[in-house]
């Protein structure tokens, strides 16, 4: 694999794609949303337990490409035990990281620091047709936390 491709398909991503974490449903689910990308057939069902404005548990099921699966797997790890305010910030950071080519170095560093491991997905920026794959789970997150409840 050459370099750009290697960056996209890093071991971390392939690992999460092959062995997604938090795959399944919350036992005491309070929020859920199904996100679907009609273009490629990726489908993610997010299952959250939210208490006192904090995400206690985050699970997901569905099927999709490596980018999609890794992104949502890493996301569920990251948002567990985070407040909704923090989650909202992460959502913005993630979207900016993938779609905003005009971020200052400083802003970029802050983004990446807050996102932690998720920052590997920055490589998707070079593959515009795959941005939707990487953000599918995140849109489900936004919908389930901030726009819709069970």
């Amino acid at each position: 694999m050459d370099e750009t491709l290697q960056e996209l398909y890093q071991d971390l991503i392939l690992d999460h794609a092959r062995n997604p974490r938090n795959f399944g449903y919350c036992q005491h689910q309070t929020h859920t949303f199904e996100a679907y990308n009609p273009l490629c057939g990726d489908r993610i069902v997010l299952s959250l337990q939210i208490r006192h404005d904090q995400i206690e548990q985050a699970y997901f099921t569905g099927e999709g490409c490596a980018i999609c699966m890794a992104s949502v797997s890493l996301m569920t790890e990251k948002i567990t035990q985070q407040s909704l305010d923090e989650v909202e910030q992460l959502f913005e950071d993630f979207i900016n990281l993938l779609t905003d080519a005009s971020l200052t170095n400083k802003a970029l560093q802050d983004c990446e620091q807050r996102l932690g491991k998720l920052a590997v997905l920055r490589a998707v920026q070079a593959f515009p047709m795959r941005v939707k794959c990487a953000t599918l789970g995140w849109h489900a997150l936004k919908k389930s936390c901030f726009e819709k409840s069970v």
Partner: protein, 413 residues
Amino acid sequence: MYTQTFPVDVIRRDFPILATKVNAHPIIYFDNAATTQKPLAVIESINTYYRYHNAPVHRGVYKLAANVTELYEKARQHIAQFINAPSADQIIFTRGATEAINLIANSFGQQQIAKGDIILVSMMEHHSNIVPWQQLCQRKGAILKVIPLTEAGDIDLQAYRSLLEEYPVKIVAIIHVSNVLGAVNPIAQMTQLAHQHHASIVVDGAQAISHMSVDMQALDCDFYVCSGHKIYGPTGIGFLYGKAALLNVMPPYQTGGAMIETVTFEQTRYAAPPQRFEAGTPNIAGVLGLDAALSYLERIGGMPSIEAHEKALLTYLYQKLQDLPSVQIIGAPAYRAALLSLTVHGVHPHDLATFLDHYGITARAGHHCAMPLLRHYQQVALLRFSLGLYNTRQEIDSVVKRLQQAVEELGHG
């Protein structure tokens, strides 16, 4: 050797895009079922039209308009001859196959279908040959029924026969060549059966016409639709063929200028076919470009030699893919045009497509606008390789090699 009878290396020079690169790799275009590339002859015909001949058709007594009208109607004749239609008046220009099916469903279908009638579609239809019929059924209280497939991925002719016998089938809407499986359906036989049961048959030829000779009088179908951009012609143009007796009594689809005899605010009298079905200013450059595409195909040897070339390529591709244990080709139809879809164990089709694209190989991953068929195979996405007249064995070698690499590098360890 196919290269002796079909000079593919020379032919490739007629397609400027084949000399371009993607990520510094020579482009290998394997998405011909989505759209084909254009030979210079087509590009130049459009260029020439806009530079020297641009004028409205069917109006204007001035010479510029007369010349264009003549070119436009000659293109219609050419298409009629290319598909062996009895008359040029049976060719109606549309934006593409999708619009052509919509026209048929909304004019002929609207006229013919009543409550309780049955419309048959097959399990392997493209959305464009499902949704317009679904909508028609909803409007009319008619019922859509599905012709199932055999294990191999062919139309189940036994089941088709039973459906025709059991139900009041009025219209059969069937794909000629599946854009996912590559299956070539036995249209002449299906037409005969449909007609025996007094049903009309609408054939979606979008994937057939670029791969083989199609003959309206041999097939005997009632309608046949095609897209220009899938047969090396321009975007935004396609056509439908219809039996004269049906076209003559069909109501118009779109209305406006050019399809009219007289207009008063009380009443409008429509022109005869094909004008009746061509409201407004048509895609003139598209029509002339399509004409040029057909001329080009004839010039390089015609459909039989293209078919032979592609058949050899397909066989080669098929064999090489069968050597890859993690690759599963979808379906095994009796006759296959030069395209196939596959899955790779452990790697998602989208990741495969991105990987291949990185090495200049354009292949399509997705549901290919055939969700019901994919559901039938319990898949949400497939990787498709669809070949064209300019593809080569060397390209297949590269593609298979890269696919293997993708399996190794993206697959389960």
